[in-house]
Amino acid sequence: MEKMQRDWPLWEVFIRSKAGLEHKHAGSLHAADATMAIEHARDLYTRRMEGVSIWVVKSSDLVASDPGEGASLFEPARDKVYRHPTFYDIPDEVKNL
């Protein structure tokens, strides 16, 4: 017989701080199911009015990049400064870019 799992599975929590902004990773928590994960996230991460919307994702469902491949994945971007939009003059009237 399969050994009963003692701990609830881990969930990653994403909070949208206000309408129009993106959900940002806030942390993680344990919960038995998705409903409980949302309730826990509400209690743990929005009790000081941090959010207007919550996403939860099972941590085991996340696919992460391999730290061992860091060199080939990220280092090629290092010498390509021209990809930063810093070569334009931004008019004063433009507040948010």
Binding site: E39, H40, R47
Partner: protein, 264 residues
């Protein structure tokens, strides 16, 4: 003075007295339950539940503060929320006996919470329409919080009831033990009648029908059953309490009793 005016003058303090009593019932129920839930801090089965219960406790404490402040103003004897919370003894408390019952295990706490959340949700929904505007405002705020408390406790009741054999047995035992404490919710007395007549509070009979309609599907989903026997009738709202409340108040009130007037 005409006879009509005289009788109006005599009736006025009675309604005021009833209002004061009624506000104590609401405020004390929230205060005592907040204290009970606070006892879970550091002891809940998971860190996440620890915070969940503490959040509910803080919501209830906030409600108690608003209600007791208002009660003190209505009474007009200079007692503020602190005087009412910290300087009254057991027989002066008006909370429902249900909420003073010791926590027991997590399942027992959830059943107690489920029974009071469902009642408060229906009650505050009705009180939000009260002719007493200040009470209606407090109720509207409390209703939003109570909706969440109800969601929390009813989901947990289903998880435990429809969980393992042991969790089912434990919550069924708790439901059988706590069920009779709900009789008091709907036992109408002169205070309830005076407030219903003044359209400040709903009639308890109408509330009971709505309450039953709300809890029965959840209890069924949790594969639990409501005891056939209605059982004893407690009267916490008239100041009759068990010894458990004395210990609770001893802890709640210790600081103000030992160091009168102490401030942060």
């Amino acid at each position: 003075m005409s006879a009509a005016l005289q009788s109006a003058a005599a009736a006025a303090p009675t309604l005021r007295q009833a209002q004061f009593d009624y506000l104590l019932r609401l405020g004390d129920t929230s205060l005592v339950l907040a204290q009970r839930l606070g006892e879970w801090v550091g002891h809940a089965p998971a860190l996440e539940e620890d915070l969940g219960l503490a959040n509910v406790a803080l919501d209830l404490l906030g409600q108690a503060r608003l209600l007791l402040s208002y009660a003190g103003e209505l009474e007009g004897c200079g007692r503020n929320e602190d005087a009412l919370a910290f300087l009254r003894d057991v027989p002066e408390f008006r909370n429902h006996a249900l909420v003073e019952q010791p926590n027991g295990d997590f399942g027992f706490t959830i059943v107690r919470q489920f029974l009071i959340d469902s009642f408060q949700r229906e009650l505050y929904a009705a009180l939000a329409q009260s002719t007493d505007e200040r009470l209606a405002g407090i109720a509207a705020k409390a209703l939003k919080e109570t909706e969440y408390h109800w969601r929390f406790s009813s989901r947990w009741l289903v998880r435990l009831g429809d969980g393992t054999v042991e969790s089912n047995e434990r919550v069924q035992r708790a439901l059988s033990e706590l069920w009779s404490y709900t009789n008091e919710f709907f036992a109408e007395d002169p205070v309830d009648r005076a407030l219903a007549q003044a359209r400040i509070a709903p009639s308890l009979a109408s509330l009971e029908t709505r309450w039953r309609a709300v809890i029965e599907p959840v209890i069924t989903e949790a594969t639990l059953s409501i005891p056939r026997e209605r059982g004893k009738l407690t009267a916490g709202k008239r100041g009759m309490h068990g010894e458990a409340l004395g210990y609770l108040l001893a802890e709640l009130q210790f600081l103000q009793r030992a160091y009168p007037g102490a401030q942060w």
